[in-house]
Amino acid sequence: MTGPAAVRPAPPAARRPEPLKPVSRSISQVGIALTVAFAILAGGAGFWQVFQSEELSTAPDNPAVIAAARNVIRGEIVDRDGTVLAMNKTDSNGDPYRLYADRVVAPVVGYASRRYGTAGLERSYGAALTGLNDPDPIRNLLRKFQADPYDPQTLTLSLSLPLQRAAVRGLGADKGAVVMLDPRTGEVLALASTPIYDASAIANPDTQEAGFAAVRDNRDEPLLTRATQGQYVPGSVFKIVTAIAGVGSGSIDANTTFEEQPQAERDGLVVNGFRIREHAGVPARTLDLAAATEVSSNIWFALAGLRTGGDNLSEYAGRMGFGEPLPFDLPTKRSQVTKGDGSAPGGFVDDTELANASYGQARTLVTPLQMALVAATVANDGQLMTPHLVTAMTGKQGTRTIDPRRLERVISPDQAAQIKAAMVRAVEGDLGRQFTSGAKVRGVTTAGKSGTAELGGEGAPHSWFIGFAPAENPTIAIAVLVERGGRGGERAAPLAGSLMSTYFEMFGR
């Protein structure tokens, strides 16, 4: 600001000021400012009424949702064969309430109670089930012009009730989780989480207090869906993630060997002064990817992880969903390669943590669903499909199917084939069978990897298995976790084998 503004006022003799700029000009500038301000208001209204509209109007606390849930008869939930999993009953006052076909679906379907709210799909699909929200965006827009705006949707799931029953039965009295999905489509066929609970008791107005109290006061936390929300140390099943990152980034391939590895199998591998020791049963000879996977060499994978680097490991894990809650029909917890607060590449503290994380110890935490996706990525030639449970929604206006969607191309088919071969060796190889006994499906080439997650202190480790079959053309991928189930080969691997057998008996090969 220079020039006229700095001019001294005129002397008293010429008292009349120079002609001023007319106010009309600055007034029109004020008008422009207000127009901009109102445009911002319009933007704010658009934000809430268009971008946030669905989220706001389907929020469980929205009075419209609560009101609709009270009076409207919810849509049914059926499994892939049409078996009704969630149906409606009427109490003595004529008000509807929910009845569930089988306790085993509680971790998936959840409950809808007039008093205690909702959980599971009953919660995440509450707006669709009550018909408050039409899945077709255009129809949803025009819905308000119809006489009866509520169109409760029936949900068709990819879940198979018999397979779900087999999975829950297989877990038995243990706490644990099973996830089985079709790697080609991402359709989830079984999602078991034990202990299960009696959702019907919570939904029934006559038994709701006792039913909810039983769940709430249970120290085993049945309401925690372990398959999607349990965060566990993965142990050796995580080696598949390391292999994907190593092969995907070109750091290693099927023929990679490490000079120092045979010696380190005996003496341990010193990284940053910290000595990594091998578990028993690994021969002190030079191993490649398949051989190291077969005998589950911690040393080989620690070396592979160090060569791959923390940033690559985090990057490839992230492509499979690590680091964020997974996109899924049920709420999920995030899986992590590391806590991410370190200064080394990928968020690791140092090479010691990276080396330990590469065989699934350190600060690595995963959900069973996440590990099922790792297996599915290898099974589906390196392409990860978005996992989903709901395959169709049917209302008065017809059916809308939810088609499979690709989540991410993680690695190339060639790279996936190298890892697949290693996972076949881990189940079918002479030495591998000792670690994954029982995972083999008779007459079907089976691929997989067991895991034994050491938790420190006393008590049995978590027992893990991930895998898929048939290896040539996989139709089913699986992740099994049994809390404190012992070594992977003892508990999780045989359960996975038997569940995959059940799958092939039901659905053919």
Partner: protein
């Protein structure tokens, strides 16, 4: 063109009627919109399951007849008296008033109950009375006010009256919802801060138009900014102090924001100097920061704004319910009367104080985004007409007065709409012409009336400019 019109008998003797076709057409469009809204509301009220099925009907035909009657009455009065006032302002305001009437008919009637000569009037009836009075007031001022001397010459008197009102409210006001805003005289009660905003504009227009040359030309430099000569900073500081005083004493964040915003925009209009606005905003931010630290209710407001979901059942409840309402409305809305049945009042799921603080949220639910955009558009029309009147007025005083009046409406609408939309912290001021409330409607009626009067091309020209006032001479001595 009107020379041939015969003189009228009776009270209109001496007036030459002039047709106002543009206003008539626009009023007709507004009337049709209101009628359609009423039909829509009437249809939504039918409930076949309960046996309420009265077919095609208006929601409240009597209200409609009264409202439209008054509207066209105001129009006819201006035609008969031959006034050459702005022809867009009244239809725009009438449409907002009509939307208000429909909304009040739609909300639960027991939100407001006034006993009046033995009969109880509900929300819509009371609002209808205020709307009609406001329109009548606007029309009367537009016709009767032919000179601005009574405003121009007594600006310090007006300022004194304003301060007196403020003090009266402080000592005699009754507290409602933690805000000391209401002043009662016997059966009549009102909110003086509504009137205060008009008084403020009158004073500022007088003060700024008189001292404009000095404010523009003489300045002290402070770093990169030219600030006004120190004696002229006094009113700015005084305004700032008054605004802060309103926050502390009346707990009325909205009024303080409104006063200060209008003040800054008017200073800019008068001087064209951006430096003043920067200085004012800096003072505002400083004041806001100190207030946040020291005054608990300010901090509560700001915290609720930042994260209402932290206290969803208490202080965050109102704004969360409003956001839900906006979300439910979506693009097209549910139609008048088609929103959540419990909208409003103390009912579960309703927005507390919806009729005064959150009419935009209720309209957002029922008219959708397109309705909200239309309403914002109508406000812009009102502002644009006001500023146009200001730009073409006869002299600086009239320009600044008209601009200030338009800004009072525009800035107030912005503040409460932005509060509703969670763009700024919520304040409890009204949405002009739409919110329920007598004080607000009457004062906005005065604003429209004055704007119409200022737009009249037939009134006497402004008086010749006076020699610079006493303060200017005094300031001249100080500076030299």
């Amino acid at each position: 063109m009107t020379a041939a019109t015969p003189a009228l008998p009776g009270i209109f003797a001496g007036f030459r009627p002039r047709p106002r076709w543009r206003e008539f057409q626009l009023l007709a469009i507004a009337a049709v919109a209101i009628l359609v809204g009423s039909i829509s509301l009437g249809l939504a009220r039918q409930e076949p399951e309960l046996g309420i099925e009265n077919g095609f009907s208006f929601a409240e035909p009597v209200h409609l007849v009264i409202y439209l009657g008054v509207l066209f009455g105001v129009h006819a009065a201006q035609v008969l008296t031959g006034r050459r006032t702005d022809q867009v302002l009244l239809p725009a305001v009438a449409l907002l008033g009509g939307i208000s009437l429909l909304l009040m008919e739609r909300l639960p009637q027991d939100l407001v109950v006034q006993r009046f000569f033995g009969s109880a009037l509900g929300l819509a009836e009371v609002q209808l009375i205020w709307l009609c009075l406001a329109l009548t007031l606007a029309g009367t001022i537009a016709i009767v006010v032919r000179s601005d001397l009574w405003l121009r010459q007594y600006k310090y008197t007006w300022a004194a009256a304003g301060v007196a009102l403020l003090i009266l409210t402080f000592f005699l006001g009754t507290e409602v919802n933690g805000q000391r805003l209401t002043l009662s005289f016997g059966p009549v009660s009102g909110q003086p801060s509504e009137l205060l905003k008009v008084i403020l504009v009158v004073f500022l227009a007088g003060y700024l138009s008189e001292n404009r040359p000095l404010l523009v030309e003489e300045s002290t430099r402070l770093g990169p900014f030219a600030i006004p000569p120190l004696p002229y900073l006094a009113p700015m500081v005084a305004m700032w102090a008054i605004a802060l005083g309103i926050v502390v004493v009346q707990r009325d964040l909205g009024a303080a924001l409104l006063f200060f915003g209008v003040f800054l925009l008017l200073i800019y209009a008068a001087t064209g100097r951006f430096g003043y606005v920067v200085l004012g905003v800096a003072m505002f931010l400083l004041g806001a920061f100190v207030m946040y630290q020291l005054v608990p209710h300010v901090r509560t407001r700001v915290d609720v704004w930042l994260d209402p979901f932290a206290t969803p059942q208490s202080s965050g409840y109102q704004i969360i319910q409003a956001l839900y309402a906006f979300g439910r409305g979506g693009l097209l809305g549910s139609g008048l009367g088609g929103g959540l049945p419990t909208v409003g009042g103390g009912q579960p799921g309703g927005i507390p104080e919806v009729h005064t603080d959150f009419p935009l949220a209720a309209l957002g639910e029922e008219l959708g985004l397109i309705g909200v955009l239309a309403i914002l558009g109508i406000y812009l029309v009102v502002i644009e007409r006001g500023l146009r009147i200001a730009a073409s007025a006869g002299d600086d005083f009239r320009s600044l007065l008209a601009a200030g009046l338009a800004l009072v409406v525009g800035v107030q609408a912005f503040i409460i709409a932005a509060g509703n939309l969670k763009l700024i912290p919520l304040t409890g001021i009204t949405l002009p012409f739409i919110s329920y409330g007598g004080s607000s409607l009457l004062v906005n009626g005065i604003v429209v009336g004055l704007l119409l009067a200022l737009s009249d091309k037939g009134v006497e020209p402004p008086p010749p400019p006076k020699p610079p006032g006493r303060i200017r001479r005094l300031a001249g001595k100080v500076i030299r």
